[in-house]
């Protein structure tokens, strides 16, 4: 028996605490170099696209900012003129005429500076907001165009953070970043030139500090990119853990989860603290270093300049101007660290946003849409194939003909393909093979508006929007009158409970309808679908969250609702299925049984078995 033990794989443990579990996202974090480059290019392209429409305005702004900076940089030079040319005549008894000229020039440049500054801030602020508004609309619109498949994968949390936090980071960049950057660059070059013009030798000495500054800044940029990434990663963990603890507080408390959660939170919080600490320390080194370089340069100029002045090679005015320029130059440089973080987060946000905007809607609008005739509701599936994952077909090739007006119920175990059929008919997805036709036209040839007017799906996800109950019903038909809304609610059987609400139909549904029970929300969702009056109605588990009395209510209403339209109904509860004209029993995407429910019960197949089990469960 050997005593040497291989150390356990501690490394991996440290990187990823076991409670986190494993998920594929981790793999994609290590982006390949090619992807990183492409992402950078994309985000640069996006930035270009955002700015291009305002090219002219941007040039005007640049001109304004150049004038502003010139006016600002002129001040020390004028001070030099004041001292060197204004004072000697006074000493010589020639009066202050020269001085007054110089002072007027200072006054002029002060006013010019204030004026251009105001214009610049105003115009660039407006431009920034305009660009932001455009970006917001564009990303929002794009998200709405993307397919449900994309949204499933992307999750709502990410959609929200793209449109809120990422956009606000870009806001920050537009508000402070450009101004800071342009001013810094102009100051840098302007100062450099002026110093050399004022006095070549002194200028060259001052320039000696530039390479050191560049090196320092380069070092800082590199380090701060690393620290920035660490901070972002740490804060994401803090946020996720926090939000989940708070939204799941009932489970946390019921299962005495608090101590373990505190442990986990202390861990992620500590990581975040360390990252913050490091970023503080980085600044603690960078800022004094810049100041140090500045101070040493100023002293060198002072000493050498003093020596030169002694010999009469430079004037006191020039020396003063030098000192003023250098101070003006070094002070704002220290702020670069703040600006750089803004820049980093903005470019990360731009990358993510351009990633979304590059996403092509996989359920695209037709290039040459076909104008459909009056809707009848005749549905056909011809050799329809579908797979979510390559090589795992959900529908291997389905043929189905649903005549207009028929109510078709789909029955089968999880994974039989019921929901997939519903999603294909409502074109949430496109089939990977074959055709789905409505009244003889391929769904892919219809515009979204034409299609949605004809096909409406109700799921158990009965989302309610902020607004009144009436607004939510009217969502099915925005131009509906109040009478129509009430009529729809009456047909569904929702009128009684809505009238009993504090403000009736005008009652605001708060926090996604938390004022209503699940069953009531579902009734509103049904009323919404009824008001939309589609030729084809798809109900995917639409009644499963209802208690028996509400379901009974819907059941009764369904007879009216489904009477004159085509319907596809998916339900676990066979009470709903019983009312259908025709039942399909599916397994692995194939049709096992097909016929009216009464007939299927008697043939003793799968459906008969299910029916028996259901009867028993009613006991």
């Amino acid at each position: 028996m050997t005593t040497t033990q291989t150390p356990p794989e501690q490394d991996d443990q440290d990187k990823q605490p076991s409670w986190r579990g494993v998920y594929e996202d981790e793999g994609t974090k290590e982006l390949s170099k090619a992807t990183t480059v492409r992402l950078k290019e994309d985000s640069r392209k996006l930035l270009g696209e955002l700015l291009r429409p305002y090219k002219k305005l941007i040039w005007i702004l640049v001109a304004i900012v150049v004038i502003e900076n010139a006016a600002r940089l002129a001040v020390p030079y004028l001070v030099h003129l004041g001292i060197d040319n204004g004072i000697p005549p006074i000493l010589a008894g020639d009066g202050p005429r020269a001085l007054i000229t110089v002072v007027s020039a200072v006054l002029f440049s002060a006013l010019l500076q204030a004026f251009t500054r105001q214009i610049f801030l105003m115009r660039s602020g407006r431009l920034g907001q305009t660009i932001l508004l455009g970006l917001r609309r564009r990303v929002f619109d794009h998200f709405q165009r993307l397919s449900p498949a994309f949204h499933d994968k992307y999750t709502s949390g990410r959609v929200i953070s793209r449109l809120t936090s990422d956009v606000s980071v870009i806001d920050e960049l537009l508000a402070n970043g450009f101004d800071g950057l342009v001013t810094a660059v102009l100051t840098l070059f302007g100062t450099m030139i002026l110093l050399l013009v004022l006095d070549l030798k002194l200028g060259l000495i001052a320039l000696l500090s530039f390479p050191i500054l560049l090196l320092l800044t380069a070092w800082f940029r590199k380090r701060s990119a690393v620290v920035y990434r660490r901070t972002r990663e740490a804060v994401v963990l803090v946020i996720v853990h926090f939000v989940e603890s708070m939204t799941g507080i009932r489970a946390v408390q019921a299962f005495r989860r608090e101590p373990r959660n505190e442990e986990i939170f202390a861990g992620v919080n500590e990581q975040y603290r360390e990252a913050n600490y490091e970023s503080f320390r980085l600044n603690a080194v960078f800022m004094p270093s810049i100041k140090g370089v500045g101070n040493v340069t100023i002293v060198a100029i002072l000493a050498y300049g003093g020596y030169q002045a002694y010999h009469g090679h430079v004037t006191v005015g020039v020396l003063t101007a030098f000192l003023l320029y250098l101070r003006q130059f070094f002070e704002p440089l220290q702020d670069i660290s703040q600006f750089y973080n803004t820049f980093l987060s903005a470019s990360a946000a731009l990358e993510k946003l351009s990633g979304v905007l590059n996403e092509e809607p996989d359920v695209a609008e037709p290039v040459k849409p076909v104008k459909p005739g009056a809707a009848r509701g005749h549905l056909e599936l011809r050799g329809v194939q579908f797979q979510y994952v390559d090589g795992v077909p959900v529908l291997p090739g389905l043929d189905l003909d649903v005549p207009a007006g028929q109510t078709l119920a789909l029955v089968g175990t999880t994974g039989a393909g019921k929901t997939t059929i519903a999603k294909l008919v409502s074109r949430f997805y496109d089939p990977t093979g074959g055709h789905v036709l409505l009244d003889g036209q391929d769904l892919r040839d219809l515009t979204e508006d034409d299609l949605r007017e004809r096909v409406v799906m109700v799921t158990q996800e009965n989302f309610l929007f902020t607004g009144s109950v009436a607004d939510n019903i009217r969502f099915g038909k925005p131009e509906a009158t109040m009478n129509e809304v009430v009529e729809a609610a009456k047909v569904i059987g929702a009128h009684d409970f809505i009238s009993a609400l504090p403000q009736g139909y005008e009652t605001q549904v708060e926090k996604r309808g938390s004022r209503l029970s699940a069953g009531q929300r579902q009734l509103v969702a049904f009323a919404r679908a009824f008001l939309a009056n589609p030729a084809v109605l798809i109900l995917d588990e639409a009644t499963s969250s209802l208690d028996i009395p509400s379901e009974r209510l819907i059941q009764r209403a369904l007879r009216t609702i489904l009477a004159d339209r085509t319907a596809i109904v998916i339900a676990h509860r066979l009470s709903t299925v019983e009312t259908a004209d025709r039942v399909l029993v599916l397994e692995h995407g194939r049709i096992l049984e097909d016929g009216p429910p009464d007939l299927l019960i008697t043939t003793g197949g799968n459906y008969a078995g299910l029916h028996q089990a259901w009867e028993d469960s009613l006991a």
Binding site: S18, W19, R20, G21, Y23, D25, V75, V79, I83, L91, P96, V106, L107, Q113, G125, Q129, L133, R136, Q144, S156, V159, L163, T164, V238, V240, H241, V243, S245, M246, T247, G248, I249, Q253, A254, F255, E270, Y272, F280, A284, M287, P288, K291, G292, V296, I298, V299, L302, G306, Y310, T414, S426, R452, V456, P478, G519, S544, D547, R552, A613, S617
Partner: protein, 554 residues
């Protein structure tokens, strides 16, 4: 920290004075031998200044980041201990902004703002005094310039705060639209209402744009004003100063020092506006945080640690209302569940079933009467032992962004593999083993997405795994298909055989798990009996549970 800051200010201000000595001494009076010592003095002072800044910042880094982290931890611990009553009132987004945005605001202020504020004010004061000493007429000019700056800053501050609030509110409205468009995406899509939603979004976005523009206008005026005052002061100083030099009231060196010193004030003055705004924000943030830290939990742990509970659960005249001024949700509830019995709770939607079950693990406290376990009032038990004895599975199963295993062992961190597997089997949740990384697969918002039925089964397994003396199942099977539901019920029957159980039921099949059924109506238990008895004798019960009622009436 402040001493280094003050030293720093002192040192940085002495450099212009050395400048004056150099100009007046070596240059004007042609005393070259003084140049080297003076330059060395300036160098020493400059380097000392840098060192002081460095020391101060290093010291500050640790203090500030520690402060932030410990505040965050305190907030988290407090929030976890606050009762459901608190959490239903507060949106998690509101809480999140406190532990992230507000704390960062405080960190930034403590890290940069506070010190800059103190140093700026210090520098302003010292420099003004110095300027007065150098040449008092010019010093007074500078002092006079401070008046418009201060008054305008204060007025601006007020206006800016108002408009910033408005921007924040409108950003909030826009965020709500965004949230709804993402969460309700399928509904929007199903009805083809993209343009409708886009229009609503546009309206809000344009509102925000307009307010932002007003804000920009206000800020641009203020900032340029703040920039012009020092320059105008310079104009006067240069004019009067040069004239004074001409009259030989002051030396050239004094004038240079004066201008250098005065211009050293430009930066502190311009940044003052931003820092003051920052201070204001930090103050508001601190208020928002103390709002939470000052809230105390009304649900406190009792003294008795219950061990090996038998699970004898009694409700004695239990009543409940959410707050004093709201109506009673439950009243006069009396139930006696002897160890091992299972009670099904039946009632219409909104009748208070979930509220009733939440009272047992003290997610809420009864407002009248009492609940006992093994004869102890549950308020006398430690929360830990009570919640060990009672486990619940809820209708909306919460899974955390952690591994399946961590999610399952929530109530029992020391569970063995065999126990985990057994619980999975009871809940028909063996699919978890087939996930890409088995039980180590991360689920939840940040991980693999599971169907409603899958999540329900995991939540059920979690409750079963906790091996409680009292098991509460709140409509846990609603998202399962008939076949799976039958299998789960079969397995649950075995678990419930030796556990006290409360099962909230909407379906007859679930009711069959129980020995007895209690009908909850109008906030109290009106009938207790077996399913068959109630079905036969209570029409209200038949209305709730008999799927074939229509036929009965027909």
């Amino acid at each position: 920290m402040f001493s280094t800051a003050m030293l720093g200010v002192g040192v940085s201000l002495s450099v212009p004075l050395v400048t004056r000595s150099i100009i007046d001494g070596p240059v004007t009076r042609r005393e070259l031998d003084l140049l080297v010592p003076l330059a060395l003095l300036a160098l020493g002072l400059s380097i000392a200044e840098v060192l002081l800044v460095w020391i101060r910042r290093m010291a500050q880094s640790r203090t500030v980041s520690d402060l932030e982290a410990s505040l965050r931890q305190d907030l988290y611990v407090r929030l976890q201990s606050l009762p459901m009553e608190f959490h239903t009132r507060w949106q998690s987004g509101q809480l999140l902004s406190r532990v992230t945005t507000d704390l960062s605001t405080i960190r930034r202020f403590m890290g940069f703002g506070l010190l800059f504020l103190v140093m700026n004010i210090l520098q302003l004061a010292v420099v003004t005094i110095l300027l007065l000493q150098l040449y008092w007429p010019l010093g007074i000019v500078v002092l006079a310039a401070a008046v418009p700056i201060v008054t305008l800053s204060m007025r601006f501050e007020k206006k800016y705060l108002l408009i910033s609030r408005e921007v924040q509110d409108q950003q909030g409205d826009l965020a709500t639209r965004i949230e709804e468009s993402a969460l309700g995406f399928r509904v929007v899509k199903a009805f083809g209402r993209r343009q409708h939603v886009q229009r609503q979004f546009d309206d809000e976005a344009i509102n925000l744009y307009n307010t932002e523009i007003t804000k920009v206008r206000l800020a641009s005026r203020f900032w340029s004003f703040l920039g012009v005052i020092p320059n105008l002061t310079l104009v006067i100083v240069l004019l009067l100063g040069a004239l004074a030099v001409g009259r030989q009231s002051i030396t050239l060196g004094t004038l240079v020092a004066f201008i250098t010193l005065m211009l050293s004030l430009v930066w502190p003055v311009t940044s003052l506006g931003g820092i003051l705004a920052m201070a204001q924000e930090a103050m508001t943030a601190a208020d928002r945080i103390s709002e939470i830290l000052d809230t105390h939990s009304v649900i406190q742990s009792g003294p008795i640690a219950l061990e090996h509970s038998r699970g004898h659960l009694r409700f004695e005249h239990v009543g409940f209302q959410f707050s004093d001024d709201s109506s009673e949700i439950l009243h006069d509830i009396n139930l006696d569940l002897t160890p091992g019995t299972t009670l099904a709770l039946v009632g219409a939607t909104g009748s208070g079933k979930t509220t009733l079950t939440s009272l047992v693990p003290r997610l809420y406290d009864v407002t009248s009467g009492r609940i006992t376990i093994d004869g102890h009032d549950i308020r006398d038990l430690t929360l830990y032992s009570l919640r060990t004895a009672v486990a619940s599975a809820f209708d909306d199963p919460t899974l955390f962004s952690m591994s399946v295993r961590e999610n399952l062992t929530l109530g029992r961190p020391d569970a063995t593999e065999a126990e985990v597997q057994e619980a999975l089997q009871v809940a028909q949740a063996e699919f978890a083993n087939d996930l890409p990384w088995g039980l180590e697969t991360r689920v939840g918002e940040q991980g693999m997405s599971l169907s409603g039925g899958q999540r329900q089964r995991l939540a059920l397994a979690r409750a079963v795994l906790a091996r409680p003396a009292v098991l509460v199942l709140d409509d846990t099977l609603s998202a399962l298909d008939v076949h799976t539901e039958a299998l789960v019920e079969e397995a649950l029957r075995r678990v419930l055989a030796d556990t006290t159980g409360i099962v909230v039921a909407h379906r007859a099949s679930t009711v069959m798990l129980a020995d007895q059924v209690a009908l909850l109506q109008g906030g109290t238990i009106t009938h207790v009996g077996t399913h068959q008895e109630l079905l036969a004798t209570v029409p209200a019960y038949r209305h709730l549970l008999a799927a074939d009622e229509e036929e009965v009436h027909a």
